[in-house]
């Protein structure tokens, strides 16, 4: 049976995340208690796995690196149909950039052992780098295809996928085991009913920390991150707005004048 690992991330709930803004005075971020949700694109990755499971069968392991509350996200994946959930949580993992995150996930993938397919969302809604999937692939010595929008052939050991490029797509053949990152066009992810979420809270997940993964403390988290945030700056607009007043017709006429002046409408 196909052995699939899906990497999911707990991210700040999107509407609430928008209220997280740099303070113009202190140039720092306010501390807000924002609820977590499954990174939207990771839902697409999980959906790929669930459809494969419903098709020819698969065993799905979900792994997530995050603080203990991220365990609820892993449980939600179990409720959606994943078979096993592993939370990678340890104070030492905190502050990781994409590199250290990918390295930690890679240790877990290796510890799990036999795997045919690793699926990740194209990017996370908060970090938005797109780097974790490809970096993970390098660390576990698997090839990767990023931005997959369609799984064209998924039988046997040689899969064929469609991956986004500028104004089109490429058709890529991949010999398993391979890592794929999945775009929002791949499918429409299923959602859980509220009762499903409640039930999933009771499901058991495994938690692995630093010692379980057998990694050195300075190769993970903030210490293991080659990049750091050096500055936060507030940006002020240099434009000054001239309002066009009058009746609707007058506003239309005046705007057209401006457009003609600027060389657009003629």
């Amino acid at each position: 049976m196909l052995r699939i690992i899906v990497c999911v991330k707990a991210v700040p709930e999107s509407k609430a995340a928008e209220s997280l803004k740099i303070d113009p005075v202190t140039k720092s971020l306010p501390r807000l208690d924002i609820p977590l949700e499954i990174n939207p694109l990771d839902r697409n990755a999980l959906e790929v796995a669930l459809q494969l499971k419903e098709g020819s069968g698969a065993h799905i392991t979900v792994i997530s690196m995050g603080p203990p509350p991220a365990g609820d996200i892993v449980k939600e994946c179990l409720a959606l149909g994943a078979d096993k959930g592993i939370l990678l949580s340890d104070p030492a993992f905190a502050g990781a950039d994409a590199y250290a995150t990918a390295l930690t996930l890679a240790k877990a993938v290796k510890k799990i052992g036999e795997v045919d397919v690793v699926l990740c969302g194209r990017a996370s809604s908060d970090g938005a780098t797109e780097w974790v999937g490809p970096e993970l692939a390098v660390f576990v010595d698997m090839p990767i295809v990023t931005m997959v929008r369609e799984f064209v052939k998924t039988d046997g050991k040689n899969w064929v996928v469609k991956a986004d490029i500028e104004n089109g797509y490429r058709l890529v053949q991949a010999a398993l085991p391979t890592v794929f990152t999945v775009t929002q066009d791949a499918n429409t992810p299923r959602t859980l009913s509220f009762s499903g979420i409640i039930k999933s809270r009771k499901k058991e997940i495994t938690t692995w920390g630093l010692n379980d993964l057998g990694v050195l403390e300075d190769s993970v988290g903030l210490k293991g991150s080659p990049t750091i945030v050096s500055k936060l700056a507030y940006v002020e607009s240099k434009r000054e707005c001239e309002f066009i007043d009058g009746t609707l017709e007058e506003k239309v006429d005046q705007l057209i004048n401006k457009l003609v002046e600027a060389g657009v409408a003629s």
């Binding site: 740099i22 780098t129 089109g168 991150s225 707005c241 239309v252």
Partner: protein, 338 residues
């Protein structure tokens, strides 16, 4: 400029047989950084039949171009490109590596960074050197700018968003050194691009359009969206969007402007029914004239534009389209208006 100073690298790329503008934009910025560091600019260009394009890279500011003009490099194959690039990094030891946020760049950059064990920032909108000559890689975040640095590991690698740096002026008297790169012999690859399929893009390309009309949540419905699309057509403008318009299904993700979407730098930008959230606004770099139409006089969008109109877009946009159409069919009214 001395040769022993570690070079600033640019990973070039060929898209549909051409070198896309982003490569030149990045070379222009690499040149500036390299001048400050007294370092050479080296560009890598892989493909087939690309020799005749190399001069333009020198004109834009490259000192050295590593050319991989071979069948093995014809289309992007991640494992082949990765092996060739990392081998060349060992030899040339670049201190900085800049890669366009294209589909190829976004896959290749993290592979290179992980293989080399170094850091990588994503989709930068500005790159400057700090007092120690370390690259500050700036990305939009939390309504402001976040600077990322990679203090210890080398090279410092960044992907660069499209359209954030100006096209450099081409100096046709500039030339440089061409160094040939050969593909690795007989490599067994596990993933292989079988075919590259191009689909005709819908509408005008946002990146190059002189006028961009962008609609947001304020469109209210697919009818409201259609009105904004008609305005774009009447002005011969490219149509852009904010995230809610995409989420509502009024338009494709392809049209989304901003941090997670496209970067545009038109002469004129018209934002309709959108609030001016920074994640959207960072996508409009260097627009000359910015106009906003919003029914809320207190909307933050007005603090970021040159001309503001407080109106319900469902009333205003159809009236504007009608007036534009009348102008076209009735030049007398046109002169009257002007």
């Amino acid at each position: 400029m001395s040769d022993h100073i570690n070079p600033v690298w640019v990973i070039g790329e060929k898209v549909d047989g051409n070198i896309p503008p982003i490569c030149f934009e990045i070379i222009g910025q690499a040149r500036k950084l390299a001048d400050e560091l007294d370092a050479p600019v080296e560009v890598l260009l892989f493909g087939k039949g690309i020799r005749d394009r190399v001069d333009s890279l020198f004109h834009a500011g490259a000192d050295v171009v590593h050319v991989g003009d071979a069948t093995g490099f014809e289309v992007y194959q991640s494992e082949i490109y990765l092996a060739s690039i990392t081998a060349l990094v060992d030899e040339r030891k670049p201190q900085i590596m800049l890669i366009g946020s294209t589909f190829m760049g976004r896959e290749l950059a993290p592979l290179i960074a992980a293989k080399l064990g170094t850091g990588l920032s994503a989709h930068c909108i500005d790159l400057v050197l700090d007092e120690d000559g370390i690259l500050e890689q700036q990305i939009p975040a939390y309504g402001g700018l976040m600077s990322i640095i990679c203090p210890d590991k080398r090279p410092q690698i960044a992907t660069v968003a499209r359209g954030v740096f100006p096209m450099p002026t081409l100096d046709e008297s500039r030339s440089g050194k061409i160094l040939q790169v050969d593909p690795p012999p007989e490599m067994i690859t596990r993933v292989k691009t079988l075919e590259v399929v191009h689909v005709e893009p819908k509408g005008l390309p946002l990146e190059t359009a002189p006028v961009v009309v962008a609609g947001g949540a304020g469109a209210g419905s697919s009818e409201g969206w259609q009105e904004i699309a008609e305005l774009a057509e009447a002005l011969n403008a490219a149509l852009g969007s904010t995230r809610p318009a995409v989420d509502e299904g009024w338009t494709d993700l392809e049209t989304m402007i901003g941090q997670s979407g496209r970067m545009v730098s038109p002469e004129i930008y018209i934002g309709i029914g959108l609030s001016g959230e920074q994640q959207h606004m960072v996508g409009i770099m260097g627009a000359k004239l910015m106009i906003a139409i919003n029914n809320d006089p207190k909307s933050p969008v007005f603090g970021q534009v040159d001309i503001g109109i407080v109106e319900d877009c469902r009333q205003f946009v159809p009236a504007l389209v009608k007036a534009l159409k009348e102008m076209e069919s009735d030049p007398v009214r046109a002169t009257h208006v002007v």
